[in-house]
Amino acid sequence: MTKHRHTLDVVDLTIEIPNGMRLLRDVSLNLEPGEVRALVGESGAGKSMIGKAVLGILPSALKITSGEILMEGHNLGSLSPRARRAAVAETAALIPQDPLTALNPVRKIGPQITDPLVRIRGWSASEARKRALDLLDRVHIRAPERVMNSYPHELSGGMRQRVLIAAAFAPSPRLIVADEPTTALDVTVQKQILRLIRELQRETGTSVLFVTHDMGVVAKISQKVTVLFAGKVMEDAPTRDIFTDPGHPYTRALIAATPSHADPNRSFSPVPDSLIADLHRQIAQDDSLYRGARP
């Protein structure tokens, strides 16, 4: 183990489906304590899959065929499934994309936040409740008591997403995987939610792996960026460099594809087909099974 311990190390991770087709290709990245790293790419690039692999919730058909995931220096692959689940639950939490499907519709909000605190952290019911109320207050929910007693359908989309942020931060995890947490929301609600994640993250020093397809969100929330295409890392750099001097043409194209109202003369244009074709060709050279994601 190194002296400088990362919260998360993903080393040369490759994931395949049973026919041998690769979905992730030798992906490496790390997260330092208190750091937000954005994982950015288009649909199908594999960004959510990295988050799922880290949390050990990959669909059963997908296999990690090489590479390692180290959480606070511990190699998760060397642990038994039970020990791995315990280690992940101890260290990490998820903020999911869709707050409606992530919450159990027939249970009240309160127990959905407190259950893991009791089960995993071993807190008493009253300690857990106090923590839940505190966190709901911190995500600016005005009537935490009432929300604890509500069912998910009684809350708006923005409220539900706040509840999930509270639930994720409640056990004081050292790592949070945020999987497109604002994609389903309006811009004004998105800004509130991003602000909340940033506030809590700074206060608690939690590291965040932030999955998004929006370069605008990347610019605001992260300090480091991993740019993915077809399961392969195109660029890994500090956010500052990505926006001042992007190193990879695909990164430049993603930024150019993001509309900006401030500068209407800087028109936005799709990622050029020729660039996509080039990237597909490069990947196919190393992988005979690769056919390209899109026709």
Partner: protein, 281 residues
């Protein structure tokens, strides 16, 4: 790669509006507060709004969730009937036309939906999805017609035999566009059609919509909560808040000199792809 320019320069400002909407009111019953006996109280969704949709141009309708933007759009294509007010299409009030009178107009008033996964029938092939309304309105509807519509939206003709789940999100949204333009309508309502797409597909779909609208002379109302997209795509913009219009005008004027707090808030909420440490403040 073609760049996006506003359409306004190419059309004459003197054309009459396709739609003139005057003092439009609409309310829904609030079933959550319905007494056991008697009528439910009403929620006012549109509180007497007036606006024009200029012919041959793209008008953006923007607002937060619950502002009434989708409801206003659905009145234009008469999926909803308003409580009061006028919806003049070429000067003829269609606000309260019965189904018999409105049916002949339906071909001219098409809609593209937000979520193509739920607006395209998963059991039908893409060809069937595009051809059925063409047959319904006597505009052909052969396999070749459907294939031609697919080619117009930049998809391969072979896609006629595919099913929606076999396509990517951007491709599905193109099928939604193909289904609408195959009928050669005069007006298309596009309701949050790129909200579910990633940036690259988003730029492609917007560019496609703009080019087709231009080439085919289709008037478009584009509903979105994203002012960046509106700025690049639209000629005019209407900003709604809680069922009232807080601002409307040419895109350039509204963006350069926003008059209402709502417009400024919506503008400030967009995370632009550039470093800005003060954005959260």
């Amino acid at each position: 790669m073609t760049m996006m320019e506003p359409l306004a320069a190419m059309t004459t400002e003197t054309q009459p509006a396709l739609f003139s909407v005057r003092d439009l009111r609409l309310s829904f019953p609030d079933m959550a507060h319905k007494p056991l006996f008697g009528a439910a109280p009403r929620i006012e969704v549109l509180k007497g709004i007036s606006f024009d949709i200029p012919t041959g141009q793209i008008t953006g309708i923007v607002g937060e969730s619950g502002s009434g933007k989708s409801t206003a759009g659905r009145v234009l294509v008469r999926l909803l009937e308003p409580d009061a007010g006028e919806v003049l299409l070429d000067g003829r009030d269609i606000a309260h036309l019965g189904e018999e009178e409105i049916t002949p107009l339906r071909r001219d008033l098409q809609m593209i939906f937000q979520d193509p996964m739920s607006s395209l029938n998963p059991r039908h092939t893409v060809g069937h999805i595009i051809a059925t309304p063409m047959k319904r309105y006597g505009r052909g509807g052969t396999r070749e017609d459907a294939a031609a519509a697919l080619v117009k939206v930049g998809l391969p003709a072979e896609f006629v035999s595919r099913y929606p789940h076999q396509l990517s999100g951007g491709q599905r949204q193109r099928v939604g566009i193909a289904r609408a333009i195959a009928l050669e309508p005069r007006f298309i309502l596009a309701d949050e059609i790129v909200s579910g797409l990633d940036v690259s597909s988003q730029a492609q779909v917007l560019e496609l919509l703009k080019t087709l609208a231009q080439d085919m002379g289709i008037t478009v109302a584009f509903i979105s909560h994203d002012l960046s997209v509106i700025r690049h795509l639209c000629d005019h913009v209407i900003v709604l808040d809680h069922g009232e219009i807080v601002e409307q005008g040419p895109v350039q004027a509204v963006f350069d000199h926003p008059q209402s707090e709502i417009t400024r808030t919506l503008l400030a909420a967009i995370p632009r792809p550039e470093l800005d440490d003060s954005w959260f403040d």
